[in-house]
């Protein structure tokens, strides 16, 4: 089942690459277009994630909820019951912002596998690739794919750390822009969000440094599209980019 999924990704990538005319740098462009395609397909999920995150943040700033938290601060069981009640009353799905995130991981792993699959480096890889190409895609003449994109070999990690820095920077930007303002000083979620805005870029930067640069191109494109999506929906919190002293509460 998983192989079929990876195979689908590989064929879509090859199809786009074929449409682009398989010239130099075109596999990188194919990855970018493929990422845009994935973003369009998962747009409703991402929108749901934003909606869920916003609802959770609104709840953190809700005066009634803050009172409840204060009241049952020492009774965690009761607090949990009250939390579920409030979720029901306000129509909040506690997993509403998690599920779309879960969808991203299989996509990321499948894309990684399809990139390495398409950019074959050993004879056995090439033979396996021949089996996964759909018969109606007559792409035998495209093989081997041109793995060069700008200064990178998309099948290898980028050697100058430039892409890793860009991945980390765009991940940081996206994290900061999507952090809603919190008026609740005891908001643990906001504190974790701040901490994630630091750890996630480092983690993604490390992934970009370690794995084929084709995957890093996906990260950068996906991050930029994420920022664009937030901005287009008017949910980007640009004030988060300013120093704390300049932010309006």
């Amino acid at each position: 089942m998983w192989d079929y999924f990876v195979s689908l990704f590989t064929n879509v990538l090859l199809w786009i690459y074929n449409l682009l005319g398989n010239g130099p740098h075109m596999f990188g462009v194919a990855i970018i277009l493929f990422t845009i395609l994935i973003r369009i397909v998962t747009w409703p999920l991402n929108a749901q994630q934003m909606k869920g995150a916003k609802a959770m943040q609104d709840l953190q700033n809700d005066v009634e909820w803050q009172k409840v938290q204060k009241k049952y601060a020492k009774d965690r069981e009761k607090l949990a019951q009250e939390q579920m009640r409030v979720y029901r009353e306000k129509g909040i799905n506690p997993f509403g912002s998690c599920l779309p995130m879960l969808v991203q991981f299989p996509i990321m792993i499948a894309l990684y596998q399809s990139i390495t699959h398409a950019l074959t480096s050993t004879p056995l890889d090439l033979l396996k690739l021949s089996r996964s190409i759909y018969p109606f895609l007559n792409v035998s003449d495209l093989i081997p794919l041109n793995s060069n994109f700008l200064w990178m070999n998309l099948g290898q990690p980028e050697p100058y750390y430039i892409l890793a820095i860009v991945v980390a920077a765009t991940t940081y930007l996206q994290s900061k822009l999507t952090l809603p303002p919190s008026t609740n000083p005891n908001d643990q979620s906001a504190a974790m969000g701040q901490s994630m805005a630091i750890t996630m870029p480092l983690m993604m930067g490390w992934l970009a440094l370690t794995f084929p640069s084709g995957l890093a191109v996906y990260f950068v494109t996906s991050n930029i599209l994420g920022i664009v999506q937030y901005a287009a929906q008017g949910k980007a919190n640009w004030s988060n980019l300013l120093p704390k002293s300049m932010q309006k509460n």
Binding site: P94, S97, C98, M101, L102, F105, M108, I109, Y112, Q113, T116, S121, T122, P123, L124, D125, L126, L127, S130, S140, D141, I143, P144, Q188, S189, M192, G193, S195, M196, T199, M200, M203, W206, L207, T210, F211, P212, L215
Partner: protein, 369 residues
Amino acid sequence: MRKKLLLITLVLLGAVLLSACGGGPIRGTTWSGLAASGETAYLADVSMVYGINLNDGSEAWQFLDKDDGKAQFYANPVITPDGLVIVGSTGGTHTLYALDPNDVTTENDIKSPATEWTFKGAKGPWAASPLIVGNLLYAPNADGNLYILNLNDGQSQKQAVKVVELGGRLWAQPVTDGQRVFITSLDHSVYAVDIETYELVWHKDLDGAIPGSPAIGSDGMLYVGSLAKQLERFDPETGEHSPVLDTKNWVWSTPVVDGDMLYFGDVDGNFYSFNTATSSLNWSIQPGGAITASAILQNDHLLLVTESGSVYAIGKDSKILWPEEVGGKIYTTPAVANDLILVASLETEFYLAALDSNGRQVWTFPQKK
């Protein structure tokens, strides 16, 4: 809070999964290289090169580059007239090694051959076996260059006599007609290089990648199979070429020449006999399993291995004389030495099996304990 922890966990899990996908060498990532000479078989398998005694399948020695943990071997080793075993690595430093099986040292009960010389000038993996012509070694590399080395210059850190820039990934052993060296490339090209001047004589493109070596037919013409599902005939002097046979799928293997006949397979498992004198298909059969390895001639018949793990003895009239199921998956061209048929297999308990001339198994390597 829980969601953030879940996110961290997922990122870590993703990283671990990705790491697992791109991890270090494991057996089965690609096929082995195989050669045999005298009383020894040479098997290039993942991170090791083994010398194996043909009489009983015991290990004579093993070679592991302790300084290059990423080195992997899958090109067929080549044996020089002096008995050196030349084998190139992929990954790590992309080194070409000349091992001396006559100079073996023992450490912790493991015998290892001395390294007579190395060549570290290539930037890509060594997927192709080099070709020895006189005292020169013509070594094509996946970086697109043909490195020409002098075997007798006494250097322990070899420098290339000449680097001929060709292009694409060079995965196949060159062949020569005595005047030119012919090299194929995954970038769809066939190159002819003058054997005296090292100048490029001609360069022609096909419609598909060429993972196999060319063959020189009895008519003096060059025959090349490709992923374009065609067998092409080339004039070795001018490079003029035309397709002579459409195949059902990718041609990976190098055609074997026997008089006017060429024998080769495709990855759909079709095995073809092509008559170069009449330029027509003689026959084709489909024994079972994809064919990436070249057939070899033994006495009056052909030996063919397929991905399905079988060895077939096939008469020149297309009749299957005997099939033998070795097991696993076989992609490597077998070798014949000391009346033994040597077959390297993947996804089995053993790396190498030796069969007698009737296909009966004689021994396997590593030996069963």
